[in-house]
C-alpha cells in the first residue's frame, strides 16, 4: 500500500504548496492593491492614527489635530476660524473623507508622502512619534478676514492675488461652513454633514473657485484690451463710433445702457468705461468679432480647464460659437460668458502687473513636521496677457473708473486704485437678482500690490439697489486696504 500512500503524500504536498503560492500572491504580488483598496478602512484610521500636519496662514496654523483617543481614531481634525478658511482648507473628516487642500495635500499632512519617507524612517528608528508635515499657504490672514467680514451674511466670493507673484492672498466663499462640525465619526457629525449637503444655500460650494458667474461689465476690460491689442483703437481718448440707439447686429433689438440718460453716444473708450456704457463695448465687441475676443480672453485664462491653485478652478468660459448679436452681448460679460471670481482677479492682476499673468497659487511651501522644507513654490508666468503698453492703457481706464466713474467707493488714501464694476443680469429673461461685481487692484506707496475680485450674489432685496459699485466695491476696498496699508 505504500506506493499509493506516497502518491497521496505528494497530493497533500501539492495542496499545501497551492496554499503557499496563494498567500504569496495575495500578500506579495497583490498586497499593495488590497492595502490601498478604497474599501480598506485601515487607510481612514491611519490618517488619524497620529497627529496630522497643519495648514498655515500668515505664520500661524489654521488647523489643529486633537488627541481624542477613540477606539478607531486616535486624532481628530479641528480648525481655527473654520468657516473663514474652509474654502482653502476644505474638510478632513473621519467619516466623510477630505476635500480642498486637506485632500490635495493629504500625503504631506498625513505624512505618507514619499518625500517624507526618509524622515519617517528616521523617526521610527529614534522612537519619535510620527507626525504629518505642514502646508504653508500664501493666505494673508488680514486680507482673508477683511474679505470674510466684508461679505458677512451676503452670498458671494472674494479673491485677492499678489499681481507680481500670483500668490493668492485671500480666498473667501460665503455662506461658509465649519468643517469641524463633521470631522468626527459620531451621530452629530452625520447630522451636520447631511444638513450642510441639503442646505439650499450650498455652504460647502467653493464659490471663489468652483462656481462661475456672468462677469457683466467687468468683462468690458477684456473687450477694451482686445481693441487696443488688435489696433481697433489706439488710445483711451479715441472716440468710439457708437450710435444711439445701438441695435444688436442681425436683429431689431436695441442694446440699452443702465440708464437712458447716459451720455454714451460716440463716447471715448475712457468715458465709456467710466460710465460702463453697454452700447460702447457691445458695439466694440461686435466690431472685433468673436474670434479675436476669445483669443484675448484665453490669454487671461478663460477656457482653460487646468487652473490649479492647486485646488482646480472650474473653467471660465468665453463662447466660440455665438452669433454676431450674441458676441456683442458676450463682450459686455452677458449671454454665454462665465467667469469664476478667481478668473476676474487674474484679469485685474495681469493688468496691474503690466500684462504679465502669473500662475495663481495657494501653497508657498511644504515642510516636514520638523520644519525641513520639502518643496517651495516657484513663481512662473501663465501668459503675457497683453503688451505692457496695453496694460498701461487699461490701468488708466481702471484708475479713471475709481476716480471719476462707477467705482468711486473703492478709493484708498495713499494708494493708486484701479477698478471696474459689474452688475450682471442672469436668469430667465434676466429675472434673477443681479450679481454685483467689483474687480480692482491697488498699488501702495511702499510697492505693495494687490488685485481683487468680489462677487455678491444677492446684495440687496431690491434689484435697483444692486450695483457692483455700491455693494461689491466697499468689500474689495477693505481687502485692498488690508494688504497695502499694513
Amino acid at each position: 500500500m505504500n506506493k499509493p500512500i506516497r502518491r497521496v503524500s505528494i497530493f497533500c504536498l501539492v495542496l499545501i504548496l497551492a496554499l503557499m503560492v496563494r498567500v504569496n500572491w495575495v500578500q506579495g504580488v497583490q498586497a499593495e492593491a488590497w492595502a490601498s483598496n478604497k474599501h480598506n478602512d485601515r487607510n481612514k484610521y491611519d490618517r488619524y492614527a497620529y497627529p496630522r500636519g497643519n495648514i498655515i496662514a500668515g505664520g500661524q496654523p489654521v488647523t489643529n489635530s486633537d488627541f481624542v483617543n477613540g477606539l478607531r481614531y486616535k486624532y481628530k481634525r479641528s480648525w481655527i476660524d473654520g468657516p473663514m478658511y474652509a474654502p482653502i482648507t476644505g474638510y478632513s473628516s473621519q467619516s466623510f473623507g477630505t476635500s480642498q487642500l486637506e485632500q490635495l495635500e493629504d500625503g504631506v499632512l498625513a505624512g505618507t508622502d514619499s518625500r517624507l519617507f526618509f524622515r519617517n524612517t528616521l523617526d521610527m528608528l529614534t522612537g519619535e512619534q510620527k507626525k504629518g508635515g505642514d502646508v504653508v499657504t500664501t493666505i494673508d490672514p488680514k486680507a482673508q478676514k477683511a474679505a470674510f467680514e466684508g461679505l458677512g451674511d451676503k452670498k458671494g466670493a472674494a479673491v485677492a492675488i499678489d499681481p507680481r507673484t500670483g500668490a493668492i492672498l485671500a480666498l473667501v466663499s460665503t455662506p461658509s461652513y465649519d468643517p469641524g462640525t463633521f470631522s468626527g465619526g459620531g451621530k452629530e457629525d452625520s447630522k451636520a454633514w447631511t444638513d450642510l449637503n441639503n442646505d439650499p444655500n450650498k455652504p460647502m460650494l467653493n464659490r471663489a473657485l468652483r462656481e462661475t458667474y456672468p462677469p457683466g461689465s467687468t468683462f468690458k476690460l477684456i473687450t477694451a484690451a482686445t481693441a487696443f491689442e488688435t489696433g481697433l483703437y489706439k488710445n483711451v481718448d479715441d472716440a468710439t463710433q457708437t450710435p444711439k440707439p445701438f441695435i444688436l447686429p442681425g436683429t431689431n433689438t436695441e442694446l440699452k445702457n443702465a440708464s437712458a440718460t447716459e451720455d454714451c453716444e460716440n463716447a471715448t473708450v475712457e468715458h465709456g468705461m467710466d460710465l460702463s456704457c453697454n452700447t460702447v463695448f457691445g458695439k466694440m465687441g461686435a466690431d472685433l468679432g468673436k474670434d479675436r475676443l476669445r483669443a484675448q480672453a484665453e490669454k487671461f485664462g478663460f477656457n482653460n480647464g487646468k487652473i490649479d491653485t492647486p485646488i482646480r478652478a472650474v473653467t471660465s468660459v468665453f463662447p466660440s460659437n455665438s452669433s454676431p448679436d450674441g458676441t456683442a452681448m458676450d463682450a459686455i460679460g452677458q449671454h454665454d460668458t462665465r467667469a469664476t471670481p478667481l478668473q476676474m482677479a487674474m484679469v485685474a492682476a495681469a493688468i496691474c502687473n503690466n500684462g504679465s499673468l502669473m500662475q495663481p497659487y495657494l501653497i508657498a511651501q511644504e515642510r516636514s513636521a520638523n520644519l525641513d522644507v520639502i518643496s517651495n513654490h516657484t513663481e512662473h508666468q501663465l501668459s503675457q496677457a497683453v503688451s505692457p503698453a496695453t496694460a498701461q492703457k487699461l490701468q488708466q481706464l481702471m484708475e479713471s473708473v475709481v476716480q471719476n466713474g462707477t467705482g468711486t467707493k473703492a478709493k484708498i488714501n495713499g494708494a493708486t486704485v484701479g477698478g471696474k464694476t459689474g452688475t450682471a443680469q442672469h436668469g430667465q429673461d434676466n429675472s434673477g437678482l443681479p450679481f454685483a461685481w467689483f474687480m480692482s487692484y491697488a498699488k501702495g506707496a511702499d510697492g505693495k500690490q494687490v488685485a481683487v475680485a468680489v462677487v455678491v450674489e444677492d446684495g440687496a432685496a431690491e434689484r435697483n439697489e444692486i450695483s457692483g459699485g455700491s455693494i461689491a466695491a466697499p468689500i474689495a476696498k477693505s481687502v485692498m486696504e488690508a494688504v497695502v496699508n499694513k
Binding site: N2, V8, L15, I16, A18, N24, Q27, A31, N37, D41
Partner: protein
C-alpha cells in the same frame, strides 16, 4: 526527514526484509527527549507572542502571563509524560506541532478579545478556548491510556459507521440558530453547541479503514478492464455510491460544502490507497464534480458562496447586492495590509473582518499581524503534521493502521486546504474551522484526539522488533518502497 528515521543496521531481521523496508525499528533512541525540547519551544513561542500582544496593546506584559505559560507548559508536560509511559516510540514531532498551533491560536483569540467593542458582539473567548484545549489534551491522554492498540478500533467498524451517520445527520434535525449563517453544522443544546462533523471526521475514517481493509481485494481484483480503466463490479460500486449520496445529502440538507468535499475526498483517497486502483480516483473526481455542479446550480447558499469567491468586493457596493458578505473582501484586505512582514501582533486591524474573525477567519488575523512570513510558517507547521501522519502510514505494519493513518492525515490536509483556501480566496469559502488555531471546542477536542490516534499508530509502527509484534493481519503485505 531521515533524522527521525530509525536506522536499520541490525542483523536480527532477514536480509530480504531489511533491504525492502523503509523503517526497520530497532533498539535505537525513542526520541522522547527530542520531543521534550521541541515541546519547550512550542510553549515558549506562544508565550513570547502573548507577551508581544500585551506590550503592543497595553504597553505592558499581560497580567496572566505566568499562569498562562505555566498552564500551557503543565498541560504539554503531562501529555509528554503520558506518552513516555504509553506511547514511548511515537513520532516526536506531532505533539509539539499541535501544541504550538494550539498555543498560537489561543494567543490570537486573546488578541481579538482585546479588540473589545471594535468586533461586533465580541465576548472574551480565550479563557473558554483554554478550557477546551485542556479538555482536548485530556481527550488526548484518554486515547493514550485507553487505546492500547489502534487495531482495537477495527472491531468497531460498523458501529463507527452508525455513529458517524448519526453525527453527520444530527445537525439537519436540530433547529438552526441565528449566527449559524447558512451552514447547518452545529447541534445546539441549551447554551452549548457542538460541531459533530469534527468528530465524524475521525469516526468515519475508522469506518472507512475497517471496511476497506476487508473489501480491498474484492474492490481491487474483481473488475473488468475497459479503455484502460478497471471498472468495478456493480455490487462493489455500492459503497462508493452510498458515500457519494451521503456527501450530496450533507450538501443539500446542511448546505455544508466543506464537510461534503472533505468526506467524499477522504473516501476516494482511502479507496485509492486500499485498492491501488487509479480508476477509483477517476470515478471519484467525475462523481464529485458532477454532484457539486448540480448542487451548486440548485442551492442558493452554495451559489452565493461561489459568487462571493468570484467577486469578493461585490458586497462593498452601495447598496450591497442581496446575499453577499464582506467577509472575504475584508479578509483579503487583511492579508494585503499584512504584506510580507505583517503589522506585528496586536497592531493590525483584523477586527474589520467582524463576523467569525476568531473562528473561520482567524487566518486573516495571522496574515495581517504576522504577514506572509507568518502564514508560510503556519503552512509549514500544518504541512509537517500531515507529513508526519503520512510517514506513520508508510511505517505502519498493518493495513488497518496504514489506512487509518493515511485517512486521518489526508482528512487533516483536506480540511486545512479547504479552510485556508477559502479564506485566502483560492477556492469558494466553506464553513469549516482551521484545526487548532480557530476558536471552537469541538474542533480542538477532535483534533487532539486525531493526533493521539496518529501517535498510537506511530508508536506501534516504530516499536522495536525485539518486543513481540502483533501478527500481521491477513492480507497484509510487507511495506515496500
Amino acid at each position: 526527514m531521515s533524522t527521525f528515521d530509525l536506522s536499520s543496521n541490525s542483523n536480527t531481521e532477514p536480509a530480504r526484509r531489511r533491504a525492502n523496508t523503509t523503517i526497520t525499528p530497532q533498539g535505537t533512541p525513542n526520541r522522547r527527549n527530542t520531543e521534550l525540547v521541541m515541546l519547550a519551544f512550542a510553549v515558549l513561542v506562544p508565550m513570547a507572542a502573548y507577551a508581544n500582544v500585551g506590550l503592543a496593546i497595553d504597553k505592558k506584559l499581560p497580567a496572566g502571563m505566568l499562569e498562562y505559560g505555566l498552564g500551557m507548559g503543565a498541560l504539554a508536560l503531562i501529555a509528554h509524560l503520558v506518552m513516555r509511559r504509553f506511547a514511548p516510540y511515537a513520532d516526536p514531532l506531532l505533539l509539539p506541532l499541535a501544541t504550538l498551533l494550539n498555543g498560537l491560536g489561543l494567543v490570537m483569540i486573546w488578541r481579538l478579545d482585546k479588540a473589545g467593542s471594535l468586533l461586533a458582539s465580541n465576548y472574551p473567548a480565550a479563557a473558554n478556548q483554554l478550557m477546551w484545549s485542556g479538555l482536548g489534551i485530556a481527550f488526548f491522554i484518554g486515547v493514550m491510556l485507553l487505546l492500547k492498540d489502534h487495531r482495537i478500533l477495527q472491531r468497531y467498524t460498523y458501529i463507527s459507521m452508525v455513529v458517524a451517520l448519526v453525527l453527520l445527520a444530527a445537525p439537519a434535525f436540530f433547529p438552526a440558530r441565528a449566527g449559524d449563517f447558512g451552514a447547518k453544522i452545529w447541534i445546539h443544546i441549551g447554551s452549548f453547541s457542538i460541531q459533530p462533523g469534527e468528530f465524524a471526521k475521525i469516526i468515519l475514517t475508522v469506518f472507512f479503514a475497517g471496511f476497506l481493509m476487508v473489501k480491498r481485494d474484492a474492490l481491487a481484483l474483481a473488475s473488468r478492464r475497459f479503455m484502460g480503466l478497471y471498472l468495478p463490479r456493480g455490487r462493489d460500486l455500492g459503497p462508493i455510491i452510498v458515500v457519494w449520496l451521503l456527501s450530496i445529502l450533507i450538501l443539500v440538507f446542511e448546505t455544508d460544502l466543506g464537510s461534503s468535499f472533505l468526506f467524499f475526498g477522504l473516501f476516494v483517497v482511502m479507496l485509492y490507497v486500499a485498492t491501488e486502483r487509479t480508476s477509483w480516483i477517476v470515478f471519484g473526481l467525475v462523481m464529485s464534480i458532477g454532484g457539486a455542479a448540480v448542487v451548486a446550480m440548485a442551492e442558493p447558499h452554495v451559489k452565493t458562496r461561489i459568487n462571493s469567491w468570484l467577486d469578493p468586493m461585490a458586497a462593498f457596493q452601495d447598496p450591497p447586492p442581496p446575499g453577499t458578505s464582506e467577509q472575504i473582501g475584508q479578509t483579503l484586505m487583511s492579508f494585503g495590509t499584512g504584506g510580507v512582514t505583517g503589522t506585528g501582533l496586536g497592531q493590525g486591524r483584523s477586527w474589520l473582518i467582524q463576523f467569525a474573525a476568531k473562528s473561520d477567519f482567524i487566518l486573516g488575523s495571522f496574515g495581517e499581524e504576522l504577514g506572509l512570513t507568518g502564514m508560510m510558517a503556519l503552512f509549514v507547521l500544518y504541512g509537517l503534521i500531515v507529513q508526519r501522519g503520512l510517514r506513520t502510514a508508510v511505517a505502519a505494519r498493518d493495513p488497518f493502521g496504514k489506512l487509518l493513518a493515511v485517512g486521518l492525515s489526508s482528512a487533516f490536509a483536506l480540511q486545512v486546504f479547504v479552510v485556508a483556501g477559502g479564506v485566502t480566496g483560492l477556492i469558494p469559502l466553506t464553513g469549516m474551522t482551521m484545526p487548532f488555531l480557530a476558536q471552537g471546542g469541538s474542533s480542538v477536542v477532535a483534533n487532539w484526539a486525531l493526533i493521539a490516534i496518529l501517535l498510537k499508530i506511530s508508536d506501534t509502527a516504530r516499536r522495536p522488533a525485539a518486543e513481540p509484534t502483533p501478527e500481521p493481519a491477513p492480507g497484509a503485505e510487507p511495506t515496500r518502497t
